[in-house]
Symmetry: C2
Subunit: 283 residues, 2 copies
Amino acid sequence: MGIPTPDGSPVDAPAVPVFFLSDSTGISAETMGNALLIQFPELRFERRLIPFITTVEEARKVVATLDAAMDGPITPLAFSTTAVTEIRDELHRSRCPLIDFFDLHMTKVEAILGHEGQRVAARLHGLGDVKRYNARMAAVEYAIEHDDGQSMRALDKADVILIAPSRCGKTPTTMYLALQHGIFVANYPLVDEDFDTNELPKPIRHLRDRCFGITTTPARLSQVRHERRANSRYASLEQCTFELRRAETLYRIHKIPSINSSAKSVEEMSTVILQSRSPQPAA
Amino acid sequence: MGIPTPDGSPVDAPAVPVFFLSDSTGISAETMGNALLIQFPELRFERRLIPFITTVEEARKVVATLDAAMDGPITPLAFSTTAVTEIRDELHRSRCPLIDFFDLHMTKVEAILGHEGQRVAARLHGLGDVKRYNARMAAVEYAIEHDDGQSMRALDKADVILIAPSRCGKTPTTMYLALQHGIFVANYPLVDEDFDTNELPKPIRHLRDRCFGITTTPARLSQVRHERRANSRYASLEQCTFELRRAETLYRIHKIPSINSSAKSVEEMSTVILQSRSPQPAA
């Protein structure tokens, strides 16, 4: 029962069994649990996701699994986001200690809001608001269509245009913004010809306000390009240095905000990009 | 300060101000907070994300923002995943009640593990394990290259091959699995010619074990196709019914697991697909 989730922890330590329990996808339970586990880099964890626990019967089976794990050499951890009272009550019958993300916080939120929460199996990662969901799907489609300057059609529809030399991380960042935030993102590769002048390339010249630049370190870019075309001029440190310098000059001249992708994840870059676009209300 | 996040709540209710506070991207704080807020569908929330609170000074500014919100007509909610003790202490100085996802759970996890957590600003959504991160990025690249049967090259490299008639939801599910789980996913569109026999299409015939089918309802498929090509044979209810029936027959004959996408999100479908691939240890 359950999905083993990948893990980058040290392999020499004995693994602590970890269960993520949920009445839906378990994405919240994993996020919440992993945010705590990351504080213990010296330990190794063996993660199991048990999603879609929707009946008391299923909860009973999970309790059996947890109790069996309790008989092992290391006390397991179980993180739960289950909302339905009867299912939570059943899970709490296990001898395994349960980190319940719902219980206590729900009571506190209810007190602050002066409203009672429904305590139903709520599909936070379900279809939810259909309009918003469809917008996310449309954004993914748009992103694929406009990946790497493939299509200049409908560039005007983009909320954000990521610009950068090839292999700086435009594509995955584009996909993340589309899939998670429903943002229409096009990306436009800066190539040698774009560096002949200090003007922005023609297709995006009138869209400067929506542009966001990505940069990286020449060493990192050269490494990534070597993986694609080993020992090419394209991958040489000289060429990478030249392209990045020229790109950064363009960003500066045209006051295009930019971010260095060399030590940042797509999640972090996306957060910065979204923040740069938001109105900044007075504190 | 902060990013307004989209919201599908009713527009007539007065909005409760909600803050998500984090020392990194805030993705965990949003996930955790929204899992609670979804239990109050009758209320409207005005969400603000304040990410990257990394110094006590910045925390002090956030406290000013929270206190200003406290002077408004509705008591705000503030969810925090901040880990660093001095920053958390500063945030707790606000008059605004703080739902602290770190505090209590951390103490409990420490007690169970018999280890002290680092309590550092941990980048759960940062680069983290670089090998795993690079695998996710490679998976996104692979997904784009193999979208919609574009390239039959390296189909053997796929961990999962999603098969379905056009517009059943293959592409966004592919992207989600690649981006979030680093799974190599190809997708293969079933077209009229593939329905002439009961055999699987040749390019995927030897890869049956990695195939996962998607289906939907004829009405839903017809609606989605009409948006793309209105009043075409392609979008007609008859054609959609035919293709789905034939696809479902193929799945059944070849014992290919499948899922109905009509009422499921990409997150839910991805969870089911991952679960079907995982070894099922005895309980």
